[in-house]
Symmetry: C2
Subunit: 277 residues, 2 copies
Amino acid sequence: MTAVLTPMHDDLQPNVELLVRHGSGLLAAGCSGLVLLGTTGEANSFTVRERKTLLEEVLAAGLKSDKLIVGTGCCPLGDTIELTKHALSQGVERVLVLPPFYYKDVTDDGLFEAFATVIEEVADGRLRVLLYLIPQLTGIEIGAPLVARLVQAFPVTIGGLKDSSGDWEATQALCRALGDTIDVMVGTETLLLQAMSAGASGCITAMGNVAAREIVELYEMREMPAATARSGAINELRATLQTLPLIPALKAYLAQTTGDASWRNVRPPLMSLTPEP
Amino acid sequence: MTAVLTPMHDDLQPNVELLVRHGSGLLAAGCSGLVLLGTTGEANSFTVRERKTLLEEVLAAGLKSDKLIVGTGCCPLGDTIELTKHALSQGVERVLVLPPFYYKDVTDDGLFEAFATVIEEVADGRLRVLLYLIPQLTGIEIGAPLVARLVQAFPVTIGGLKDSSGDWEATQALCRALGDTIDVMVGTETLLLQAMSAGASGCITAMGNVAAREIVELYEMREMPAATARSGAINELRATLQTLPLIPALKAYLAQTTGDASWRNVRPPLMSLTPEP
């Protein structure tokens, strides 16, 4: 699956037409789903109202709700609840939920309570939550014991997790402890094959925006040796992009390859990679 | 000034009556102002709607707008703008503004653009912004060069900063570079006297919730030697509280000293320090 970029007009309002075209292309390239309004989609730079409108507009423009996972996790649990209820009201049953991420050094009890509050307040049997583990941005560690406790309390609702830690030891521990029970999705294709060997279900990756077909092929090959050549091509592109801030770099790459300069637009505090004059 | 706790009923809705009573007591104890909805006030656990309502209600209940500084900084700049405009509409001209804090490793250019966007969109000559530096929670470093650049661009609007880093070297650098130009407020009374010697204007502290009079006396003594005894008493109380998570500990202390058990309530991911059964 691809963590989809959010293209914007020059006034930094979402370019829904371009987003739908891009998303449709990713599905046509073989992605099994699209994550809207995750980290790559600059979700936390959009207000609740903007996020709801964006989802309504992409659905109205033709993206299918069963192909979407929508990011709904905010610092105020009231916002997370509102966005999650809204996604369900639009037929999107899968949501990717950040822990409330302002306070640090919070306890597993406090994080359990936060996720439990959201699930209990939303109170919808259709809901499938993917827990979003991205400690390098949230400063919040969510380990296998907390996930297992949530799975035990909400066995149907906790559908999986996205582990974007990039920490193979942590990913492996999660795959081994939980891979048989829930969908463990890694946050990068670089760990896809080894994570799948350990029990992961797949990956949700930002690189899918620029190399969807190659990553789908990697997924389908499954076997490490056969995948090496394909993986090498993706690695080359990643190496070029990763010397730069990733979201602006991916957008600049799409601006260049599609000829649509508006792809460069990002919301502050991110900054576009404007070509030097 | 005190960074005021937000008391809550058992359903975790704000207890406005208790907040106003507590705030009035802090002013009577000599605080020159109250910061509502900062870190200590669990601002980021409240939605935009809840934050607006809280401010309207405390003003309706009698707190004076010119005694208040309201926290308005959120991840989505649209929310920061909405809350800042709202504060001004209620006669509160001073706001404490976090940088957008989801993305890390952002540039000074990106942070400048974020604050500039807020100031330009609010477009109100009455506005006085205090920049909120609390890198241990935001993961965002705001150094003297960025502050100086903002002061140069918005000399009237940037009224000061709150430095909650707790890092004396950083605080001293800010005081020396900017103490003559803007109000540098430190985030703890432990650095108050040395910071004032270096050019700071005062402090905004969570400990004010439980020791306002003592901290006001410390401020008024100014001189380090004379202040030692008073500082010792505060240090003793702080030493007792700081072995625990600070916000729940301050609330538990007030529950104990006032007899009002509802003071213990906090919103997840924070957890109350409930006495063992």
